[in-house]
Every structure is written in C-alpha cells, then in structure tokens.
C-alpha cells in the first residue's frame, strides 16, 4: 500500500469507531464485580505503603527516606511489575474477546459496519485505559504514600530532589508494562481458550530472562522495563537475578522498542479477529 493510499483511508471514521468501542467497553468493564481480584491486585502496593507509613508515623517502624525509596523499588520490581501488573493484565486483556464469547455478546460488534481491526484496537485501548488508570494510579498513590510520614523532607525530595522524576519513571514503566503485556494477553485471549496456561509460561520466560542469551533476552517485556526503572534493587542470592540488570537498554531504545513490539502483536491480533467466527455453542 502506497503512502497516498494509506493517507486516503477513513482514519477519522476509524478513530471515532475505535473510541466508541473503547467507551462501550469501559462502561461495561471498569466497575465490574467480577473484576474484584484485579482491583485487589492493584490495591496491593497502596495497602502495603499506607500501612508502612501509618506504622512509621506512630513510631512503630524506624526507617530513613532512602531506605523507604529502596523498599518501594523492591515492592515495585519484585511484586508489582512481575505479579500484580502481570496478572492484572491477564485478567483485563485476555477477557476482552474471550469474555464476550463466554457471555455471547461479541456478535453485536461483528454485526456493526466497522472493520474488525478497529474493534480490536478499540478493545485494546479500553483495556489499556483501565490498566493504566488502575495500576498507574496505584503506582503513583503508593509512591506518595510510602514516605509520607517523613513530612517536609519527603516534600523536598519530591519537589527539589529526584522524587518527581522517579515518580514519572515509575508511571511510565507501569504504563509500558500495561502496553506490552496487554497486547500479548489480548492475542492469547484470541487464540487460546484458557489464557492462564500461556500466561504462566510467559511468567516463567520473563522470570528466566536474566539467564537467557543476549539475543533471546530482547524477546521479553521485562527486559525493557527493568532498564527504565529508576533504582536498582540490591537483592542477594537467586533473587538478585530478578532485580539486577546486567545489560541495560537505553530509554531511547527501550520505549519505542516496546511500543513497536506491542504494535506488531496488536497487528497479529487484529488479523486474528478478522478471521474470527462467532459460534457460541462450541
């Protein structure tokens, strides 16, 4: 397809339709009782950091500001990035199509005058908005909460020190995690009936990333995310593998690289949606 042909496509219509799909999906899925466990995963860091601050404020937990920042980095890298956001994205994105097949409602989209690629994009967008709001919001609130008991010192760290930059970096990493894992789980939800099995395999792959050969390391989301985290977590023993980044990728490569990989996976997912048939009785 030439550049002129690409330009002549009805991009405005497609954008409007994708936004309509995203709006509809958000109104159905954002506040959904069945997704309680996703809210629970998202609330995990807030709960931990607020508890820490409350205990520290009452003098029951002695800590310094740098120690709190390191504790936050550990929670973020070890728990949140690898488990909370990962499984949250499994729940959100793999159900975008699979959930509709189970509820027998997918045909309403497929009976609309809209390209199926646009439906896939709109659904992905809604999942991304939901994931970024939930997990990005949680990341931000937890970052503010963990050292809140330090009062003016933390305020100064945030406004005059590296705090605000780190805050932004954590939000960016969270958003990129949602972007990358989201596209993968959207595809899994389309091609595999039980996406938990490939999700578990992907988790093992991601966990084993540090010991992989240099080339294979690059076929991973965590490889790029780890490079973008503001602090290296000093873990010892086997856990060090999770946190230490021996081969960091610069941000200028990691961010567009992850976006490109996500776009490529989304393209494959869109082709899959194009071929999809609606047979609920199966």
């Amino acid at each position: 397809m030439s550049a002129a042909e690409i330009k002549s496509q009805p991009w405005n219509l497609w954008t409007r339709q994708a936004m309509a799909v995203a709006r509809l999906e958000l109104s159905r899925n954002f506040f959904n009782r069945r997704a309680w466990w996703i809210y629970f995963l998202a609330a995990g860091p807030i709960f931990l950091t607020v508890m820490h601050s409350l205990l520290a404020a009452r003098g029951k937990w002695s800590c310094t500001l740098p120690a709190d920042m390191m504790a936050y980095a550990t929670i973020f890298q070890v728990y949140y990035l690898r488990l909370g956001i990962f499984f949250g994205c499994v729940g959100i994105f793999s159900n975008l199509f699979r959930g509709e097949v189970l509820e027998k409602t997918l045909h309403y989209y497929f009976l609309s005058p809209v390209r199926r690629e646009v439906v896939a994009t709109g659904k992905y967008l809604s999942g991304l908005i939901m994931a970024v709001v939930l997990f990005g919001g949680s990341t931000g609130v937890a970052y503010l909460a963990i050292a809140w008991h330090h009062g003016a010192a933390y305020q100064e760290y945030l406004l005059k020190g590296p705090g605000l930059t780190q805050f932004g970096q954590y939000i960016v990493v969270t958003s990129l995690a949602c972007l990358g894992y989201g596209s993968i789980f959207l595809l899994f939800g389309l091609i595999i009936r039980n996406p938990m099995v490939p999700a578990a395999l992907l988790m093992i792959w991601e966990a084993g990333n540090p010991v992989l050969p240099a080339l294979l390391k690059k076929f991973s989301v965590i490889f790029y995310l780890k490079s973008l985290c503001p602090l290296d977590v000093p873990l010892s023993g086997p856990m060090a593998l999770i946190a230490v980044n021996a081969d960091p990728t610069p941000a200028w490569l990691a961010i567009p690289g992850l976006m490109l990989v996500s776009a490529a996976i989304l393209f494959v997912a869109s082709r899959q949606v194009r071929k999809m048939e609606v047979m609920y009785s199966e």
Binding site: A20, Y108, P113, G122, M279
Partner: protein, 318 residues
C-alpha cells in the same frame, strides 16, 4: 468470488458449510429477491447457518456469498446495508436499553449525539421508550426481543435478517412487528425471516425457502412451490349451495382423489391430481345450472401444507 458480483439480491453460489464433520448446509445455490422471504425447516435444518453465513458471522467451507454485491467478509461495508436480529438472547452487562442501542450505534460511526438520537427513535418505534433507562438484562423476554429488533433496524438497513423474530412477543407486538416486516418488504427491501410458526410465515412471506438436513428442498413463491409438488393431490375448497350433488358430478372424473362435504355443509373440499380438468367440470356444472358456486380457492397453497408435503411432520424429506 465471481468477477462481476451480482449487485441485486442475496446470492449463494454453491455454498457448503461443515462444522468439523457435521453438515451445516450443503451445495446451496440460490438468489433471494426483494420482499419477505421465509426460511422454513425443522430444527437443525440449517436456517440459522444460512443466516449466519449471509451476515459473515461464519464463513462458508466452500462457495461464495454476496449481499447486494458485497462479499460477507467485509463487515464495514455489509452492515451499512444489513441488520441482523439473531436468536441469541444475551446482552452486555451493566447497560441500560438506551446505552445498549446508542453505544452500538456509535460503533457504526455515528457521532455520540446522532447515535443517541437514532437510539431514541428506534426505542420509540419498538415501544420501549418507557423502559429505555432500565438495565437491559432486567427486561422481559419480549422486551429483549424488541430491543434486538430495535438495534437491527435502527440504521434503516436495505436487508433485514431475522432469526425467529417473533419469539417471546405478545400478540399485540407480534401483530405490529409482522406489519413492520410487510411494510419493509413492500418498500422493496429484503426481509429474511426464519420462524417455526408457519401460519405467521404464511401471512408475511412473498417467497419461502424450505430447508431440510442442510439442503434447500424448495424455494420460490409459495404457489409455485406448491404446484411443483406433483405427487401430492391439490386441495381445493369449493363454496356452493348443493355440495353433495356437486360431489356426485365431480366423481365422474378419474383424477379426483377425494371429495368431502365441508363441516358447515356449505361447501366441498376436494383433492385432485388435475386441477385444470376440475375447473372445466365446475364450469360445466355452473352452465348446466344445477349448482350455485360462491367461491373456488386452493386450500393447500400455504407454507404449512408445503412444509408437510416436502418435509413431513417428523422433519424427514419426502
């Protein structure tokens, strides 16, 4: 796909669809003209498969389908002209009737305000304006059926495909919906209906497609289909003043199979293998002055009779 697609009608060109090793439909070639077309056949005969194929929800294993010249794998073009009310009785969670309609109409590409306007009009037309802001999952069976219809017709499609559209509707709504289908058919649109309620199919259909075990058994206008069933004697109801006397005269004809005096005593129900000869004999009876005829009308040129002759009560093709 043919080089020059037929832009008029819904065209199935040697279409087969298998579900694994199970036959859905086999070697179907037909062209559905404008007007109301009913798909008739027992459960599992392939009615829903045919409808799902013509709306692209499933793809043919072999052959090709075009709707007004549009291939069915182009939903972005197809559903500007087609509306499909499926048999699936499921709705998205958490949406009111109005949100359901306006949400999906916005997916059509309408602006939010236009989608809301169309949704309001369609709800009004289907008599759901009062329930517009109630959760659609709380609707009664009839209301759910009506809101599906409201979505299918909201964009004024040229082709309306309806899978058992009268299910769950109360008599009033049934009557109004049938009137709407007829009106759409009279406007030259394509209305394809599947229904197992044969007398209702009879009331609304311009033509029928009879299906059995995945094969098209017969298609066309009901009179034409009936006349092709030569092995079944034609039933004719003759309203007259002296049915017994007329019966004795008709029995001189070899092709007459049966003549029964009507229950009310004011007519005769006959079965003949040669309708032309019977009409000639009736003319002679009138001319001779022995019998006063009120009316003569075919008694089995209806979907029910054709269904019985071709498919049988147990669904087996004769």
């Amino acid at each position: 796909m043919s080089e020059t697609p037929n832009t008029s009608g819904i065209v199935f060109d040697n279409v087969s669809r298998f579900y694994g090793e199970v036959l859905g439909i086999n070697k179907v070639s037909l062209t559905i003209p404008p007007g109301v077309t009913s798909l008739v056949g027992p459960n599992g005969s392939g009615k829903t498969t045919l409808m799902n194929l013509m709306t692209g929800l499933i793809r043919p294993t072999r052959g090709s389908i075009t709707v007004l010249g549009i291939p069915t794998d182009r939903p972005e073009k197809l559903f500007g002209k087609v509306g499909y009310c499926t048999q699936v009785d499921a709705f998205p969670r958490g949406l009111t009737g109005f949100q359901f309609l306006s949400g999906y109409l916005a997916v059509h590409g309408h602006s939010v305000s236009r989608a809301k306007e169309l949704a309001g009009q369609s709800l009004e037309r289907m008599g759901l304006a009062d329930a517009a802001h109630r959760p659609v999952l709380g609707y009664s069976k009839g209301m759910r059926q009506r809101i599906k219809l409201a979505l299918a017709i909201a964009h004024e499609p040229d082709v309306l495909v309806l899978d058992e559209p009268l299910n769950g509707l109360d008599p009033m709504a049934r009557s109004e919906t049938i009137a709407l289908f007829r009106q759409w058919g009279e406007q030259g649109r394509y209305v394809i209906v599947s229904s197992h309620i044969l007398h209702e199919v009879d009331r609304i259909s311009d033509q029928v497609i009879l299906l059995s075990y995945g094969y098209v058994v017969a298609e066309g206008q009901i009179q034409g289909v009936r006349s092709e069933v030569k092995e079944q004697p034609i039933q004719i109801l003759i309203r007259c003043d002296r049915p017994s006397e007329l019966a004795s005269r008709l029995f001189t004809q070899d092709s007459l199979v049966e003549a029964r005096v009507h229950e009310d005593g004011r007519g005769l129900l006959v079965r003949t293998r040669d309708a032309e000869a019977l009409y000639l004999l009736l003319n002679r009876a009138v001319v001779d002055g022995g019998v006063q005829l009120e009316s003569v009308a075919p008694a089995d040129e209806d979907v029910n009779s054709v269904y019985r002759y071709l498919i049988g009560h147990d669904g087996s093709t004769t």
